[in-house]
Symmetry: C2
Subunit: 230 residues, 2 copies
Amino acid sequence: MPITMYDLAGDDPERRFSPFCWRTRMALAHKGLDFETVPWRFTEGDKLPQPNAGRVPVIVDGARVVHDSSAIADYLDECYPAQPLLNGPVVRGVSKFIQNWTETVLHLGVVRLVLLDIYRHLGPADQEYFRSDREKRFRSTLEDVVKDRETRLPGFRASLDPLRRTVERQNFVSGETPAYPDYIVFGAFQWARAISDFELLAADDPVRAWRGRMLDLFGGVARRSPAYGD
Amino acid sequence: MPITMYDLAGDDPERRFSPFCWRTRMALAHKGLDFETVPWRFTEGDKLPQPNAGRVPVIVDGARVVHDSSAIADYLDECYPAQPLLNGPVVRGVSKFIQNWTETVLHLGVVRLVLLDIYRHLGPADQEYFRSDREKRFRSTLEDVVKDRETRLPGFRASLDPLRRTVERQNFVSGETPAYPDYIVFGAFQWARAISDFELLAADDPVRAWRGRMLDLFGGVARRSPAYGD
C-alpha cells in the first residue's frame, strides 16, 4: 500500500507550494517509495488524520501517522534505512544548522518577495485566512510586505552567499550526491517557483544551476509540478 | 615525533589568534595527537616550511608538510582515522556550507568589530604590513572600520540566529559531540577572544554557552590560551 502524504495545495489542487511538504516529497522520492499525495488547504485542519499539529506534511504509512517534516525524515530513515536521508548522528546534527539557516535567512527572504503571490493562488476561504493571519504576523498588509521587492532583490541574492559558494564547488549541498540537507534548502526555492513568476536567481547564478540539478532529480518530480520559470 | 604546527602569533608569542589556526589546533587536540606550535608572524613568510601559500596554519608531520586548514583536516582524517573530524562524504559536503557561512557572514561580522584590536596586538613590523594591507582591502582606515561598533553589535548578534537556534537545541553544531564543523565556527570566536575585550555575545546567549563548552574541550586547550573574557 503506498504511503499517503497530505500536501498543501492552492485553489488549483495540482499546485503544491509548501516548502516543508517539498522536503518530504523529495525525501519520499529519494527513498524510491511508492506514495500518493492528497491536496490539503490551510482551512482544512479537520481533514487531517490524527495525530497532527494542524499543518502539513502529514504522512500515513499503513497504521502509522507521522507529522512534521523533520519527524517524517527520521521516521523514513528508521523504517526504510536504504538510501539514507541523514546518514548518522553528525549529518543529523550539522543538518540542523542548515535547517536553521533555511528557516531564518532563506524563508524570511523568500516570503518577503512572494507573499502576495501565495495569496493570489489560494481559493476564497484560504485567502481570507491567509490575509488575516499573515497580516497580523507581519504587522503590514500583504501588498506592503512585497512592495519594492525589486529593490530588495540584490540583498536577498547576497544573503545566499554561503549556499552559492558551496554549490559552485560541489554538485549538491550534501556533496557529490543529494541528501536531506539539499531537500531542506530546495523546498524554499520550489515554494517560490510554485506560486510566483518573480525570478529569485540571476541566470548565471550557481544557485540556479544547483536548483536545475534538483529539478532533474528522480525523473523530474519537482520540475513536473505546476510552477513558473525553469 | 610530535607534529609541528606554525601558528599565527601577536607581539606576545603566546597570543594566538588566527581563526584558521584555531580550527587546526582543535582538530589536533580532537585526534589526541602530540603536537607543538611555533609562533609565526604575518611578515615571516620565509620562515615557513615548503610548500606553503605564505599563510598559516602549516603542519609538519615527519617528512610531510601540509598547508591550508581544510587540507590539514583531510590529511589528519586520512592518516589518523580514529576520532574522525569529518566522518564520511555527506559530513564533508555539508560542512562546506558551514565553512562558507563562517567565512562570509561570521568572519566578516567579527572583523568589522575587532579589526583595530588585532592591530594593537601586533609587533611594529606586522603592524605596518597589517595596516597597509587591511586598509586597502576595506578601503577605509582601521579606525573607521570599527567605528560605531556598539551600534552594529545587535545586527551582528542577529546574524548568528542559525547558529543560536542550533546550539540551543543540541550541545554542538555537529550534534551531541563536537566535530570539525564546531571547530570551523569556534575559530571565529576564539580569534575575537584572543585579541579583543569587546564582548561579542550577551551573557544569556546560547551561543555563549556553546562557546563555553568549546573552551572546556580537551582539557581547556582554548581556554588556557591568552585571551579576554570567559
